[in-house]
Structures are given as C-alpha cells and as structure tokens.
C-alpha cells in the first residue's frame, strides 16, 4: 500500500520551542514537499526536496528549514516556533510532475 506517513498527527508546542515534523514515503519518489494549510489561504508550498540533500525554497520558507538525509524521509524543522506557525502541515511526494501522494497531516498548535 503506497503511502506517505506523517508523525506526529497532533502537536502542541510553546512559543520559542523547536519543532520537528517527520514524513516518510514508501514509493521511492525522488521529490518530496512540505505544505501548510490555513483557512482562506489554501495550501502553500514551504519547501521542495528533489532528492537527498537537494532542497529548494517554496513560496513561504521563512521560519522553516528542512532536512533530507534519506530518500524516504523528509523533515520540517521550526526553530523557535511562533504562534503564526499554528497550522496543518502536509507532506507529499511525487513521481515526476504527475503522481502526487499526500500524508494525512500534522496539526500543530503553537501557544
């Protein structure tokens, strides 16, 4: 069963704490993505990774960094989380520009 797995599913952090969101895929897709989804703003692209250690900023990278040391894993890091980073974060992977698979999301609340 091909899938993208995100951990954790729910997370509550205090402002200023560091946050690690993890994502894994079992399809050997080269390209992986991190999006955030907010009401009224839709899905916004944070980072793209084209392969191990080959990452590129998306539309809203400020306040985030990523790490990809293995093809199947892609992490999103928030150093010193802010309240405006409260959101639902989705990881996705794709085969070329066609077959995209999304995870179920991580709901992050920063208080």
């Amino acid at each position: 069963d091909m899938k993208v797995t995100q951990m954790p599913r729910y997370l509550i952090k205090r402002m200023g704490e560091n946050v690690l969101l993890e994502c894994g895929q079992d399809m050997s897709h080269e390209t992986m993505y991190w999006y955030r989804q907010d009401p009224g703003l839709g899905l916004q692209l944070i980072y793209i990774s084209y392969d191990v250690d080959s990452n590129s900023e998306g539309d809203i990278p400020k306040g985030y960094r990523v790490s990809r040391k293995k093809r199947e894993h892609f992490s999103l890091i928030l150093d010193s989380a802010k309240t405006n980073q409260t959101s639902v974060y989705f990881c996705a992977s794709s085969s070329g520009d066609s077959d995209y698979t999304f995870g179920s999301g991580t709901r992050l609340l920063v208080i």
Partner: protein
C-alpha cells in the same frame, strides 16, 4: 494571487444528483490536476488531465480542459454522501510543486 482557482466557494446537492466544479488557471500548463480533501485528511488526487487532452474520466468523475479559455471542470455524477469534501484544482508550473486553488466545498445531502 492564485495560479489556479475554483470559481465557487461551496455547492450543495442531494444524493444522486450531479455536480460540477469549475476552475480557471493563469499560466500555461502541461497538465491540470483535480484533488479531493475530506475532513481530517490530506488531499487525494482524482484526475490528472494533460494539456493535449480535452476530457478524462475516472469512474463517476469527468474532467474537462479548455486550454484556449484556461479553464477546467470536474463533474461528479450520481453523487453520494461520501463525495462530501473540498475539491481543488492544481497546476505544477515549472516543476516547482503544485499550486492549488482555494477549493470548492461540495456538500452532498441524503
């Protein structure tokens, strides 16, 4: 501004009826994709229609693409309550990841 956008926030239909969601886009594309997102889940790809295709079907779903007017539609026939979701169109310009519209919420009532 959105590179792809649906033209209605919400639609409601009764089970068994058909519903159509429309989308317009602003860039030249190689393909347009339709997604469904149910509450508490991530987006799930429904149909990918390439720029040289005018229509594509997937079961009860039918997507059309008109590159001259830069528009697309997704129709669902014989709707069911489980079709209740937000439907998005999305494009992938310059292989820089998907750009989504804000979505149309479709509610199917018994």
């Amino acid at each position: 501004s959105q590179l792809a956008e649906e033209n209605l926030w919400a639609l409601s239909v009764h089970e068994g009826e058909s519903v159509t969601v429309n989308c317009s886009y602003k860039t030249s594309i190689t393909a347009l994709q339709w997604y469904r997102q149910k509450s508490g889940e991530g987006p799930a790809q429904l149909i990918l229609i390439r720029s040289n295709e005018r229509e594509k079907r997937n079961g009860r779903l039918r997507a059309t693409l008109d590159t001259s007017s830069q528009s697309s539609s997704l129709s669902i026939t014989a709707t069911r309550c489980e079709d209740t979701a937000v439907y998005f169109c999305a494009t992938a310009p310059y292989a820089q990841g998907l750009t989504f519209g804000l979505g149309t919420r479709v509610s199917v009532f018994p």
